[in-house]
Symmetry: C2
Subunit: 385 residues, 2 copies
């Protein structure tokens, strides 16, 4: 296997944006290419993660992107795995370089849904779960994650306030992230007083629907030799599958695909949990961050929900989680998210994170989940000299 | 690089089918798995090509497929590149095995659009071209390929009758293909008397809209050792990109991405054109078959349109082209097509093609184009002992 490096990562702001999806895609890629200090012609291949292109009656974004960038010869396909689309694209790029096929790969993810009506957007999102056995029976994502939260609270004695602390922490982090969708400080009371969406999850337990795009440039060791200075190596890339439906699983308080992806990633990297300086995890709902920390081995079963309250996962805590603000406050443009997590990793490991900088961060992990765990990808990154 | 083998390939019938897309997907995969003589648990990873899942409000088909098959742990993502989606999935599977990441990969492609209104379907198809610069200006695929055909006819003195012979030949081949969408013999007069869709292309110059699914199992040399008998090796897998828009290209009578993919595939395989016993090429319109033969080096520039009339590309000709019936008569369920071409290769190289069998076929090439050439993949297969 060839070594794989993260040369750059950049993104558009996240939010409700009055630009087309394709414009957002190109904007993020231009930023990443400029950040990398390369030209578009250096790119051997691309992967574009996208889920909702059909709302602008467009697919085949790969050649649209590469033609716009001025390097149409490079192959570039669309990949999708619901909310794990971005990290799936990253995984394919990793394999392309590690396998010796490519030297420089552009990875991008974006989504933009013009519709701003929450009911309709929730319907769009259900495309990622099982239409026949879940969505058509009323099980939307807030409902599915509420089942997980209920079971979690009942089994482990966690409270809704414990989960609220996760939202408060991620909103606090996003105050220092200029590209975050929601840059608004909230209190535990604010969360507790927000209306129930699907009991026990309230409005402020849920991530927003966002528009946005993110991009990263991955390259081989041979390619990165032309650049001086510190660099970031991708030391693990693990992609797993899981049961698409929640009701076919024995336990709602864990995501088995995440457990396996985490174990596999640590095996690839030959790291232990103690080596990790920061995590970006898939907090589509507050409870998802608690479960992620347990699935990845950073908390014992039933203890993940208490770490935000205890300050352990704060930027200055023992194991900072979602310094970007996470899906919860940075935002969640479905297929951009897995790549946007890498943008945070890049900025943290290169000491570019400003007011949310984690001192001395050298090793970072990203965790990106599709639907309720039908797909999961875990990547580990390390700054090297 | 590890050697990559094609263990099996199978498909559903193509046509207007009263089954959901997901049912078609699973059906094709079950057939391919049974044909391979493996169990679903043998599969390390999957790739599902799909473009129009949104019409049944479903994405994330990977875990739906793997959960249905009883192997939910295997990662499985969706890939898309318009009409080259199937071969893009194949390429990713090839890289996964050649790069040493996987031993056994399931590749599937399917599409099913419930709408049967031609105008609406043509609109759906335009998602693969450039929405802003082509579709919104009225340039649908029949129109775009008609520009190519006009230029071809003007430049090279080919006639509409020459192109009609391509349709007649492919319809004739499909008479022997039980899964073909259109099993109806036609004459040159039938083509010439069919109504113009976009001059000079007439109704019978165009492939149909089809529903359907196809699947293939690829594996490593280590994996295939458990099986006896003849086997098929994937000796080349090349994926390229090209300008998304037709109007930005200097020449409408060639598809540059296909020229590059072909050259690269022959370089990988270390074969010459004379080594190839049969081709499955992307004949979405009759003129596309003529151009494909030239782009791949099987005909001189301006001569590809005459080969069907001369009998060169017939099943018993010097270089049989589209023995399956091609997109023209076998049918074109967008994302299934690239995988379905491999089904024909499998049946021909394993001498299972019945009335359309090419005697002694040992080496086959597939050519799958996305849109007017924004993407192209060429694969070469060889039967080995």
């Amino acid at each position: 296997m060839e070594k794989v490096y993260l040369l750059s990562a950049a993104q558009t702001p996240f939010g409700r944006l009055e630009k087309s999806g394709r414009d957002l895609l190109v904007e993020a890629c231009v930023r990443a290419i400029e950040c990398a200090g390369i030209t578009p012609k250096d790119i051997d291949a691309g992967y574009v993660a996208n889920s909702f292109g059909f709302v602008e009656w467009q697919s085949h974004y790969g050649p649209i992107l590469m033609s716009t960038l001025g390097n149409p010869d490079a192959p570039c396909m669309t990949v999708a795995s619901a909310c794990a689309s971005g990290s799936s694209a990253l995984h394919e790029a990793y394999m392309g370089i590690a396998g010796g096929f490519y030297d420089c790969v552009l990875v991008a993810g974006f989504d933009r849904i013009e519709v701003k009506d929450t009911t309709k957007l929730t319907t769009y999102f259900t495309m990622g779960c099982d239409r026949v056995f879940e969505a058509e029976n009323g099980a939307t994502f807030p409902g599915l994650y509420a089942l997980m939260a209920s079971e979690y609270i009942m089994r482990y004695g966690a409270t809704e306030e414990d989960l609220a602390h996760i939202a408060v922490k991620n909103h606090s982090n996003a105050l220092h992230n200029p590209v975050a969708h929601i840059q608004k400080k909230i209190s535990v009371e604010d969360v507790m007083n927000s209306p129930y969406i699907a009991r026990p999850l309230k409005l402020l337990d849920c991530c927003p629907f966002s528009d946005g795009a993110a991009a990263a440039v991955l390259c081989s060791e041979g390619f990165i030799r032309r650049f001086r200075g510190e660099r970031i190596r991708v030391v693990a890339s693990s992609l797993t599958g899981g049961e698409i439906t929640l009701h076919t699983r024995g336990d709602f308080t864990t995501i088995p695909s995440a457990v396996r992806a985490g174990k596999d990633a640590f095996r690839q990297a030959r790291f232990t949990r103690k080596d990790i300086d920061m995590l970006e995890v898939h907090d589509c709902f507050t409870v998802a961050e608690a479960i992620a920390l347990e699935d990845l081995g950073f908390a014992e079963r039933g203890k993940g929900a208490f770490l935000a309250r205890e300050g352990v996962t704060a930027i200055d805590g023992d194991i900072p989680v979602n310094p970007s603000g996470g899906l919860k406050a940075k935002g969640h443009p479905v297929s951009a998210t897995g790549v946007a997590q890498v943008v945070e990793v890049y900025e943290q490991l290169m000491s570019l994170a400003g007011g949310r900088q984690i001192n001395g961060a050298e090793v970072a992990l990203t965790h990106n989940v599709g639907a309720t765990g039908g797909s999961c990808a875990v990547h580990i990154f390390r700054r090297v000299k």
